[in-house]
Amino acid sequence: MNLQNLSIKGKLMLITMLTSSAALVLSSASFLIYDLISFRHLLTLDLMTQAQIIGYNSAAAMAFRDEAAATATLSALTAKEDIVAAVLYSPDGTIFAHYFPNGAGHPSTLPGRSQENGYRFEGGYLEVFRDVTLNGERVGTLFLQSDQRQWSVRARRYSAIVGIFVLISGLFALLVSSQLQRLISRPILHLENAMRMVSTNKNYEVRATRFYSDEIGRLIDGFNTMLSEIQHRDTALQRANDELKTRTGELEGEITHRKRTQEELLKAKHAAEDASRAKSAFLANMSHELRTPLNAIIGYSEMLEEETRDSGKLENQQDLRKIQSAGKHLLSLINDVLDLSKIEAGKMGLHLETFDVSLMVEEMVTTLQPAIAKNTNNVRVRLPDDVSMMRADATKVRQILFNLMSNACKFTDHGTISLDVSQSAMEGQEWIRFRVKDTGIGISAKQQGKLFQEFSQADATISRKYGGTGLGLAISHRFVQMMKGRIGVESQPGQGSTFTVYLPAQVTLDTAEAAQSEGAGAAAAGSSQHKPELDTILVIDDDPAVRDLMSRFLTKLGFRAVAAASAEEGLRLAREVSPLVITLDVIMPECDGWTVLRKLKSDPHLAQIPVIMVTVVDNQPMGFDLGASNYLIKPVDRDRLAVLIEKYRLARSSSASEAKVYSRPAASREERRPIEAEVSRRT
């Protein structure tokens, strides 16, 4: 049994028993030992006294050689049971007389000779030697041997008594301790019981009774205090729990509410997105719907203006020009709005190409001439030779510069507008800086903060006075950002403004998409000097106004225009006339432009003919993918169209390898819109 796992009661009793028994046994043993030692001493003294008496009594007998008398004297020891041998030695050491009570002669332990006075314990016997003297003269030696029977009997008896005593007292101690241990074990057992009740029943209202004010009493007090504390906390916990439950319920309600709200919000978001999509679709439709009549207005007004100019009706020419100008302005506004909505929708991509900065600037300034002339401003362009090629979205760079420059012209009267282009290295990169400086009305610091935000002209009155949508700078800002460049303004009211644009000399794309074709340098934008031959141009468009305008325009340029109103007719004519170039509209009844383009490109005889898409549909990639050579958005910039067609005519006449010339990369540069903020129609 493991002592350590004994119950407290058992332990206490064991301790008491062991302690008392040990003490008892030890004290009894020491007493016994002491008694036995002193008893032995007594026995020794007794034996020595005996020896003295015997010696005295036998001295005369020895002196007178009376053996019988000596033996008789020794025989007196019969009464002493423990004496096993008594011998008288003559002075010379021989045995004179002896006495052996058991009568069996010499015990083996008998010393052969007499020895010095004294006693010794030898082989379990106590032996005494004593000189026998007569009047101080030694007449012999007495030897007594005791078997210590008395001593061992006593020892045995004592041990038995002690044993019995220990047994009895042990029983007594058991009895007493079994009663007394309750003093200690009872409160502990009670405490244990109380604890069990607490732990099994979770009943914290139980209290242990305190019996005495000893340590256990204090323990019980502590236990009770602890219990009340626990009870207190338990109650508090319960309360907190309840509260938590309530709160959780509330929270759940809240969550449900929020979820509902979220769903509603989501619904609202979807609705908003739908609305936004609807808006975009509306805008796209609107742009189409707006551009189609504008196309006609601008086109016919241009035609009329030219005709009136030719016929010298100058008064009408002035009015026609106003119509033309208002139409163009309206177109630019629509384009701005559409651009911005595309930027907002994230549908505006970059079309990277490498181009000559000087050519672009030159072209841009040329197209800006009417605006420059309007307020009689003076334009200075500074363009060092080291700034040449740049890789960026040329259309957007041009549009940025055009916006800045036209703004400068618009807000400057009789002043000087300077464009300063330079190239420098910054932050481990080559940058091209365009700085447009004017001497105009300037912009206040407060206005500068809102300058690049949409629909915010510096002042509401400005739009009334100067016109414009206020979108130009916002669009420019977005474009600069798209090309990872920077745009900034320094200005003081009345002191003129300076706009600075930094663009990387090599703009890179974040994603692999976007860039499709790269312009192979500067294509000649200037007009060619060759004599026009009657090359055929096939115009496929369902809109009679477009067919009419295009035919007239092309005829003017010196081409033979053949118009087709439907896809079938277009395809048939293409086979019949083998045109130099085909212009193709997309939105047509029955069979759309994409199908026509696909059919054209799949026909081996027709595949070589360049196709210029002329449409309101803004899906340039689709056109290029299907094999279109160019993509123009209606209303068509007739100058651009002229340049393009002229190029094809030139290429056909001068080069034998037509396929190379007509390849799309070579042509892509031509899609830039010269004056009206033309945007690369790319998604």
Binding site: A60, M62, A63, A69, D92, G93, T94, L134
Partner: protein
């Protein structure tokens, strides 16, 4: 000095007198015992030792000795049976501070200076007269003739079974004012005074 170690009870019995004599001699002579003259003289060697032991166990009355170291005078009356033995035995002995002085005496000489008087067998006829002469005097009379004790000699040595024993006449001792130790008496054969000799 030869030591006999008895091996057999028969031998033991045979040798006992000789052993006894040897022991006695050694007792008498002590550690410085000298070699025996002859086997004839061994009896007297023992007797001389007895006389020495008697002197130890007999108390003389006060005033018997003039000085604490006054010698004990032993007179040998009649024919000397000791030869020189007794002189040799007692030569170095002393009791308390007293040495022994031995005188050879003849019948008719003054006996009063003696403390112990050995009366030889030759003086048997004069015994009563000798004793009468010593009457009232603290003189230990010792004889070696049968009947001496009964006749008034205080101690009489006898030989029984080849062993020297002695008789004591207590009345005589009382008359001589001598105190004989009970230890001595325990070994002695007590002889009563004959009625005829009571004076």
């Amino acid at each position: 000095m030869p030591i006999f170690v008895p091996r057999d009870k028969a031998i033991m019995r045979l040798l006992r007198p000789i052993i006894a004599m040897g022991i006695c001699l050694s007792m008498a002579l002590g550690a410085s015992a000298q070699a025996l003259d002859s086997s004839d003289s061994s009896e007297y060697l023992i007797k001389a030792g007895f006389i020495y032991n008697f002197a130890k166990l007999v108390g003389w009355p006060q005033g018997a000795f003039a000085q604490p170291d006054s010698p004990i005078v032993i007179g040998i009356l009649g024919t000397d049976p000791f030869g020189g033995i007794i002189d040799r035995v007692l030569a170095d002995k002393q009791i308390d501070a007293r040495h022994f002085v031995i005188k050879r005496l003849k019948w008719g000489m003054d006996l009063k200076g003696c403390d112990i008087l050995f009366i030889g067998s030759s003086e048997a006829v004069h015994l009563e007269e000798v004793l009468h002469a010593l009457k009232g005097l603290p003189v230990l009379t010792i004889g070696e003739t049968p009947g001496f004790a009964r006749r008034g000699c205080i101690i009489n040595l006898i030989v029984e079974d080849n062993k020297v024993r002695f008789e004591v006449n207590l009345d005589a001792a009382k008359q001589a004012d001598l105190n004989i130790s009970s230890r001595l008496l325990a070994l002695a054969r007590i002889i009563p005074q004959s009625a005829a000799d009571v004076r």
